[in-house]
Symmetry: C2
C-alpha cells in the first residue's frame, strides 16, 4: 500500500486519491534524507515492454515535489540514460536553490544503474502575475464523437489502457498502414480512471500519445526518447484535455516532438518538447 | 592565457583558435577529477549587467565536452538558479553514462553559490544515419543588405558587440517604441570575429538575439531565463546563420521562446526552447 496520496508536499503537490492507478504507480516513500523508494510498474509500458518515459519522470517529480514545497513543476527535463526494469527503484533528490522558484535534481536508480536524470524548477502558478498574450489556441479537432478511440485489444501495450484517448482521424493513418506524411497526432485525452490531471501528471500526458513521426516514415520500430522537457503553464480544469504533438524536423534519424496540451476551458496547461531517435524495423 | 583551444576533447569538441573571444571566455582548466576552473567574463553581458545564459551554458558544455569524448552536445538543458558574478568559477562535471550517447551533468559554482545546473547528452552527428524529412525550411528573411545591424552605440550591452547580427526589420519595432505585436525576431548572425560556429557555440547563439516577447508587450524591463534547452541538429557550414525566435504563449508573465538556427547551406543546425519570465519596468 502506497502513501502517495497522503504524504504529499506541503502545498498539495501530488495530492490525490490513492485509489487512482497513476498515484499508486508513482507512489514514493521517504527512506532517508533525499532518498525515496519507488516501484516501476509494468502498467505504463509502451511497445517493446519499456516503461513510458513520462511515467518515470512523474515518479521522480513526485519525490522532488515533496522536497520542493511548491506545487507546480513549471519546467522539468529528464534524460533517459538506461532502460528501466520493472520493480524497485530509488529516487535521490537534491534541492539546489529555494525561492520564488525552487530548483532541484532527482536521479532514478535501480541497483547500480542510473536510469534517468531529472532537473526541475517548481513555482506556484496561482501566484503568477504578468501579462498574457496568446498567439494561437487549442488544436483544431473534430467533435469528440468523430474522433477514434484505441481498439480494445489486449495485444496493445498496457499504457493504452491507462488513458481514454480519442484521436483525430487525420493523424492515425499510420495505424492502418497509410501514413499521411504529416507529422501530427492530436486528440482528446484523460486518464481512464478519471484521475484529475495536475502538474505532476502533465509530463506523462506529454508523452502519452504515439509519436507523430510514425506518420512521416513507414517501417519505424521504435522511437526512444533521449530527453523530454515539459513546461507546466496552467492547472487543468476538469474534463477532456486537447493535445497535439508535431514533428517537423527529422534529420538523419533524430527528431524533435513538440506538444501542446490545453484544458476543457480552452486554456493552455503545458507545452513539451522531446529529443528522440527513430529505430527502423526490419 | 587559456588552454581552451589546445586541450580540447579527444574528438575535437571545442577545438578552435584561442584567439577568438568566445574561446578565450569559455576556456576551462582541469584542476581536479571532474573539476574545472573558468572565468565568467563581462564581455557577454546583457542588459542590466548579467552574463548571458547561453554563454554560461557554453562554459559548462566546454568542460563537460572534454570529459564526454563525443563531439556534439545533441541536447543540453541549463537551469539558471542564481545570478552569476564576473570572475572565477568552478565547473564540476559528472559523466553519468557512456555509449553511443554519453550523458553528463555540470554545475557552475562561484564560491558557495551554485549559479547554473546543466545536463547534456553528447553524440556524434557524423555517425547519424536514419531518415530525413523536413517540414519547413530556413526562416524567410529579406536579403542581407535589407536587414538592420545593431547601432554602434557604447550604451548597448557588451554582448551586442560579440556578434554581427542583421535583423529582419519586421522584428525590431520594439527598438523604436513600436512593438509589432508579433512575437518574432529573426535575422542573420555570426560571431563578430568570424569564429566558426560549432555545437559548443550553438546554445549561445540560441540565446543571442533579443527576446521576441519585446514585440508583444510594451514596458518590459527584463526577461530572465529560468531554463534553456538546445538541440544541436547539425554542424554549421561556414557563413551567415539564419535564426528565428518566436514567443506565442505568454501566460501570466511566463513564456516559451522557440528558436531555429539554419546554416548558410540551408541546413538545420539547432533548435532551442527557453522558459522565461517577463519583469515589467516602472
Amino acid at each position: 500500500v502506497s502513501d502517495s496520496g497522503r504524504s504529499s508536499g506541503p502545498t498539495g503537490a501530488g495530492d490525490s486519491d490513492p485509489g487512482y492507478v497513476f498515484d499508486e504507480d508513482t507512489a514514493v516513500d521517504q527512506v532517508g534524507p533525499g532518498e525515496w523508494s519507488a516501484t516501476v510498474s509494468s502498467r505504463w509500458d509502451v511497445v517493446g515492454g519499456a516503461p513510458n518515459g513520462g511515467y518515470l519522470q512523474a515518479i521522480a517529480l513526485r519525490a522532488l515535489g515533496h522536497e520542493a514545497g511548491l506545487p507546480d513543476p513549471v519546467t522539468s527535463t529528464a534524460h533517459f540514460v538506461a532502460k528501466p526494469e520493472h520493480g524497485p527503484a530509488i529516487v535521490r533528490t537534491t534541492i539546489e536553490r529555494r525561492g520564488r522558484h525552487t530548483t532541484g535534481t532527482a536521479r532514478l536508480e535501480q541497483g547500480e544503474t542510473t536510469v534517468m536524470l531529472l532537473t526541475a524548477t517548481f513555482g506556484d502558478l496561482a501566484d503568477a502575475s504578468g501579462p498574457t498574450r496568446i498567439d494561437g489556441g487549442p488544436p483544431h479537432l473534430p467533435p469528440l464523437d468523430a474522433c477514434v478511440a484505441a481498439p480494445d485489444d489486449d495485444a496493445l501495450p498496457p499504457i493504452v489502457r491507462r488513458f481514454d484517448a480519442r484521436f483525430d482521424p487525420e493523424g492515425i493513418g499510420w495505424m492502418l498502414g497509410e501514413p499521411s506524411g504529416d507529422g501530427r497526432i492530436a486528440g482528446y485525452i484523460r486518464f481512464a480512471d478519471s484521475r484529475p490531471v495536475d502538474g505532476l501528471a502533465l509530463p506523462l500526458l506529454a508523452d502519452a500519445m504515439p509519436p507523430p513521426v510514425l506518420n512521416m516514415v513507414p517501417g519505424i520500430a521504435w522511437v526512444p526518447t533521449l530527453e523530454l522537457t515539459t513546461h507546466v503553464r496552467g492547472r487543468p480544469a476538469p474534463g477532456w484535455l486537447r493535445a497535439v504533438f508535431r514533428t517537423r524536423l527529422l534529420v538523419d534519424g533524430y527528431l524533435e516532438e513538440d506538444g501542446e496540451i490545453w484544458d476543457a476551458d480552452g486554456r493552455l496547461v503545458a507545452i513539451s518538447r522531446q529529443f528522440a531517435l527513430v529505430q527502423m524495423g526490419r
